[in-house]
């Protein structure tokens, strides 16, 4: 069965400022995809913008899926105007998501800004394993999913740029201070999603301590299927497609 489908908008709720939660009902049955995978969504039926946009899956509930997004440009602005009952064309689920093995004990999650979208999906999948979540946002109001995390039994270690919640400053510095030798044992694995500078600084840290880490990357895409070669990222093994080999990569593979 092919992955091109229509989905009906159940709700498109503004959470705060420019952050929205879109709930979609796929008009054909899809098996629940693993965390970190994504959909290409049509944001408008016209010719500008022309291409679909990639969005990671935030939650999957009762056959519906949710997209948590921040309005960042024309495409997401148009998406924010979608109303209940509207139909959106989608392709997915696509890409390789977070692959959490069974043997790891300490799981550390790191989210920056809207990077919480797929990190929450992972947290929900592995909540029984009591992951430690580090979550940085610009300001308190933009700290999303806190209640949902709480119901999973996860209380994130927070940082904000303006100090309105948690420690003031960037989340990687907070994480560095927080982690002790015991939590930095060799069987700990880090899964992260967030802005480029955050992931780069995480990568320096994990390299220094010899830790395993995986990051979900974001990139402009035309097709999402692996054919346009537009979304590549530079890795130690040459250019790799974020849509096909990713979006989750071992962090030490990426050349920042």
């Amino acid at each position: 069965m092919d992955r091109l489908l229509k989905a009906s908008v159940i709700e498109n709720r503004q959470l705060i400022n420019n952050h929205y939660l879109l709930t979609l009902q796929p008009l054909k049955k899809i098996r629940k995809p693993g965390p970190g995978r994504f959909f290409m969504l049509t944001v408008d039926d016209g010719l500008d913008p022309l291409l679909k946009r990639p969005f990671s899956i935030h939650r999957w509930t009762g056959g519906n899926f949710q997209i948590l997004y921040r309005v960042a440009g024309k495409g997401t602005h148009l998406l924010s105007k979608k109303k209940q009952g509207d139909t959106i064309e989608a392709i997915g689920p696509l890409g390789n998501g977070f692959n959490v093995g069974k043997t790891q004990n300490n799981i550390i999650l790191v989210a920056g800004g809207i990077g919480i979208a797929p990190v929450f999906a992972l947290a929900e999948t592995i909540s029984k394993r009591k992951p430690l979540l580090f979550y940085g946002t610009r300001t308190k109001k933009e700290a999303l999913c806190i209640d949902n995390l709480k119901s999973l039994g996860i209380k994130p270690v927070m940082s904000t740029d303006d100090g309105t919640l948690g420690t003031k400053g960037n989340i990687i510095n907070v994480m560095k201070k927080h982690l002790t030798r015991s939590t930095l044992s060799t069987d700990c694995v880090i899964y992260a999603c967030g802005p480029g500078p955050m992931l780069r600084s995480l990568s320096e840290f994990t390299k220094k301590h010899g830790l395993k880490a995986y990051a979900a990357l974001e990139q402009n895409m035309a097709c999402g299927l692996g054919t346009c070669l537009g979304c590549v990222v530079n890795t130690v093994n040459g250019y790799k497609r974020v849509c096909k080999e990713g979006p989750v990569f071992p962090i030490d593979e990426i050349i920042w």
Partner: protein, 308 residues
């Protein structure tokens, strides 16, 4: 009304017979595998694969694409797996379909073009070659293959000697006289010309004052280029006797028919594959419906039928 059963969609490109005029444009369809999930490749007029060179190429650094109004700029930089890998690893997949495989290829010198054509000519399962002399993302100096008629004649006539497969020359729109370029390809022995490749363009981020593409410039495709492409197909149709393959922002059957009326014997869908992987199928069905509704028996009747 003409019944759908009596509708003849067959077209010829040189000695190549296509069951219908809808092809894929090089670089937008990979080597077919990714799209087989969405469409029946058997139904396509032809598959044109991502451009190949003698050796694998890693392409340009990212960012490689940027969206522009009704279009996109790309500077992929001809990333490809190389001819040998294609023949060994990708061609077997395409061979299982009853659809001609057209291999797009390029070189950095006339000698490389000739060598590549020779290797492809002896591989089984390839039905035609499309010579890319028109990528806008190659290094300075390369563009002479597609913009200097003397060099175009030389490279096409040399490749002509190296292959007896149907030879299509893909033309650059970044020239003053596209008709002259088509005529040059025809005189050098091409069996068909295809156009347009992308138009060289540029986009700038006004906050950072930096180009949006790492390569600075890229090739514009999508509906934004369509009127330019239709005009160029029309000019080529008037100038040459060999078939013209039209492409440039085709998203619907109406777009495809516009190209055919301008003079295209066949059309190729490029950026449209990215927007919706089923675009080629929808176009094919739409052309058939248009013909049925308008009492047109053979699609060949429409080629060049614009009344100016």
């Amino acid at each position: 009304m003409t019944g759908k059963k009596t509708i003849d969609l067959k077209v010829n490109l040189g000695k190549l017979r296509l069951k219908n005029p809808v092809m894929t444009a090089s670089g937008t369809f990979g080597y077919g595998e990714e799209y087989s999930e969405f469409i029946d490749i058997n139904k396509l007029g032809a598959v044109v694969v991502k451009g190949l060179s003698l050796k694998p190429k890693q392409g340009n650094p990212p960012p490689r694409i940027v969206e522009t109004p009704a279009g996109m700029l790309n500077a992929i930089g001809l990333q490809n797996i190389g001819i040998e890998n294609f023949i060994n690893k990708k061609l077997p997949f395409l061979k299982q379909f009853d659809t001609p495989v057209i291999v797009n290829f390029f070189g950095d010198s006339i000698a490389e073009y000739v060598k590549a054509a020779g290797i492809l000519n002896s591989a089984k399962g390839i039905h035609a070659l499309e010579m890319n002399i028109s990528c806008p993302n190659k290094q300075a100096g390369w563009s002479i293959f597609g913009t200097d008629p003397k060099v175009t004649f030389k490279v096409v006539s040399q490749v002509r000697k190296a292959t007896d497969l149907t030879l299509i020359v893909k033309l650059s729109p970044n020239v003053t006289d596209i008709g002259l370029m088509a005529k040059t390809a025809e005189d050098a022995g091409a069996d068909a010309v295809s156009l347009i490749n992308t138009l060289t363009g540029m986009a700038i981020d006004i906050k950072s004052r930096k180009p949006k593409l790492a390569n600075i410039t890229g090739g514009l495709s999508g509906p934004a280029v369509r009127p330019v492409a239709v005009r160029m197909v029309w000019e080529c149709y008037k100038t040459v006797k060999i078939p013209v393959i039209g492409m440039g922002g085709i998203l619907s059957a109406e777009d495809a028919i516009e190209f055919i009326l301008a003079g295209a014997s066949a059309v190729a869908v490029g950026t449209g594959n990215f927007i919706n992987p089923r675009t080629t199928m929808d176009i094919m069905e739409g052309i058939e419906c248009f013909m049925a509704d308008n009492g047109i028996k053979s699609v060949k009747e429409l080629t060049g039928a614009v009344q100016c």
